[in-house]
Amino acid sequence: MTTNQFMFLLFSAVIVIFSLLTVTSRRILRAATFLLFVLVSTSGMYFLLRFNFLAAIQLTLYAGGIVVLIIFSILLTSHINEKLSIPPLTKRIYAAIAALAGAILCIVTILQTEFVQKVFDPTRVHIRTIGEGMLSTGKYGYALPFEVISVLLLAAMIGSIILAKKRKD
């Protein structure tokens, strides 16, 4: 077993286990913490794939930003000791059947598919390449989505402020 394989399996195990815990834990703050583990392992997966910049972003933005945001809102809306009620059995069965069916369908399809896999390029993606890609307008340039995303973020920011603001009425 190579190091890669080992690391992959390790991260996979963490991701799967903590994902399951995230969606089943009855304490909401714990669920958020488990989500954090999942996100961190995902970031590890990015490192494994040599996307160091993205992995860093994943850590800072997801783990540092979104999870903190979620935890804040949990603290705003729930009691720390409150336990979530167990969903009705029928609901769980239906959801499990749907999820399992989907998963099996996808996995079977994946395993049946032959992929043309290239030789692995272990070099890291250079920040400069990313920057140029972001601002390039040519082929494989992403200036327009970049601008659109920036507008989207601005709009989301303003929208969130307006939504969360206390109304007078």
Binding site: T2, N4, Q5, V16, L20, T22, V23, T24, A32, V38, L39, M45, L49, R50, F51, L54, I57, Q58, L61, Y62, G65, I66, I70, F72, S73, I74, L76, T77, L84, P87, R92, A95, A96, A98, A99, L100, A103, C106, I107, I110, F115, V116, Q117, K118, F120, D121, V125, I130, G133, Y140, I149, L152, L153, A155, A156, M157, S160, I161, L163, A164
Partner: protein
């Protein structure tokens, strides 16, 4: 080939993660936990993109940029969603998705 880890592994992992997220979305009543399920789904997609990019098409960075944008959109989405959740909480004093059915027939 990525030193003993074929792409199928990544895909199976991301599929598993994706459907765990789906399961969570379907069973969890609390809006915030549903939001967390959505984050799981998004992450599984990111892994997929990156695996495809690195293993199948390493000469360009399309998957990476997509992931970047997904993360940005996820951030925006999370902030708006949480604003909405807080707003709902202010009105209904809970954030149980089953209680939000005023718009039905």
């Amino acid at each position: 080939m990525f030193e003993g880890v074929p792409i199928h592994w990544f895909l199976v992992l991301s599929t598993t993660m994706f459907f765990i997220g789906i399961y969570g979305f379907l069973v969890r009543k609390n809006l915030i936990t549903m939001l967390m399920s959505i984050e799981l789904i998004l992450n599984s997609v990111c892994i997929n993109f990156l695996a495809f990019n690195k293993i199948l098409f390493p000469e360009h960075l399309e998957g990476m940029f997509f992931t970047l944008f997904i993360i940005a959109v996820a951030a925006a989405e999370a902030s708006v969603a949480i604003a909405i959740i807080i707003n709902i909480y202010r009105r209904l004093v809970n954030i149980d998705v089953e209680k939000m059915n005023e718009m039905k027939y």
